[in-house]
Assembly symmetry: C2
Homo-oligomer: 253 residues x 2
């Protein structure tokens, strides 16, 4: 038998346009108080990185950027803004693919994704947003602002990444605080008695994807609260970096 | 402002051990009646492929399998069961990587994943499960069994796939019926007036991941109902194959 209970995903709205220096942790806390009856035991607060990047001033005005020859050549070949390509290259530590108009690279934060997380959507024209410099630290700060004496909740910061082999982007976790991003079933036994040997679930990514379902791209829903997810509050919490595959195990570097 | 409303993910339990020929659509319908007050407008019913494969007899007894020399060599080098490796090769139409004990291949169903979806967990010892032969057809049949005159709901069949570059597996959609697996925002404008140029969300994969949060690997929760997700019932429904990246756009074949 199962002790599973329903999960609720609550959209949190009402945040104003975020500008550098805004105390978004406190601002999110206020809206959770209003719209979700305050934080509750086991809640996971999922925050789209866009508002975190804005609050942290991770913004670049394109008119301040001088494209390198590589950026200029790639941009002109593929009809892109050379300054934005330059920002992508600056945010990258290693290029995985630079082909057919796409740049897939390893970011400063060690994620492998398209355009190094540099994005022109949901921000003023002429400005691009970068990923938070250290998304785990950002998650930690938001968690501290939300805590109010509580320990039994988690914070996840998300971005939408494409995937090899599959169409479309999905929300994933880039920063994590307070919860274990991976649920490791290895060594446990399924109901048939079979030992699970390679089952490590990226639950933080699944939580990020679940939250996206109430966020929608065109609406102002930058935060969601996931309530009722049965996780082990006592397990060792981890970071968003735990979700990055180590180089020596990656067949697709 | 947002018209987002909360989403609920309801675990559906109480299915017996499934055997070939079981009418799982009807069996799931009975449990949804009991545990979710019946199907409601906009519901997404998410079904783990394992029970679908069992009901469809997509099972192989390993003692009936004679490994090829390739399977035997790979298995002996990496401490694996040569017969299971042979089944993986038979379920594959193309090998993407066969390295460090891993087989990443394109399955008969055109998904690229580890071990061609062949799995020894949650099934009797000596038997492995395959993916459903045509997961979209399976989703369609389950949807027909659930419909009872209703049109405004979707069915998704899932498996857990690993991903390049990221640790852990996540639930994804391999079969879809009644809903559009991709939400295409291209050409629409964000609140800042910026035209979204490459935003196609793989919502069926996000729904699959969300459902996994109530499923857990060690418990008997093979089905979840996602209620309250705001999707366009009127949009053109699609299939799980829409989630497969076309070869000419795939940088990582």
């Amino acid at each position: 038998m199962s002790d599973s209970v329903p999960i609720t995903i609550i959209p949190i709205t009402g945040l104003p346009e975020i500008t550098p220096g805004d105390p978004i942790g406190t601002m999110i806390a206020e809206q959770i108080d209003r719209q979700a009856e305050g934080l509750q035991a086991g809640d996971i607060v999922v925050v789209t990185h866009k508002i975190v990047s804005k609050a942290e001033g991770q913004l670049v005005e394109l008119e301040t950027v001088s494209p390198s020859p590589l950026a200029a050549a790639f941009a002109s070949r593929h009809g892109k803004d050379a300054r934005q390509v330059e920002v992508v290259l600056r945010e990258s530590r290693r290029i995985v693919r630079m082909d057919r108009g796409h740049i897939i690279s390893e970011t400063r934060q060690r994620f492998i994704c398209a355009n190094a997380g540099v994005d022109a959507s949901n921000v003023e024209s002429g400005i691009v947003t970068l990923l938070p410099r250290d998304p785990d630290a950002s998650a930690r700060r938001i968690r501290e602002a939300l805590a109010d004496g509580r320990e039994d909740f988690g914070v996840i910061i998300t971005d939408s990444f494409g995937r090899p082999w599959r169409n479309g982007i999905v929300n994933v976790a880039i920063g994590v605080s307070g919860i274990a991003p991976l649920a490791d079933y290895r060594g446990q036994h399924d109901p048939s008695g079979h030992e699970l040997r390679s089952t490590v679930l990226a639950v933080a990514d699944e939580l990020a994807s679940a939250a996206e379902l109430v966020m929608h791209k065109l609406q102002a829903v930058p935060v969601a609260v996931i309530r009722g997810y049965q996780w082990q509050v006592t397990c060792e919490p981890g970071t968003g970096q735990d979700l990055v595959m180590p180089a020596d195990r990656d067949l697709f570097r």
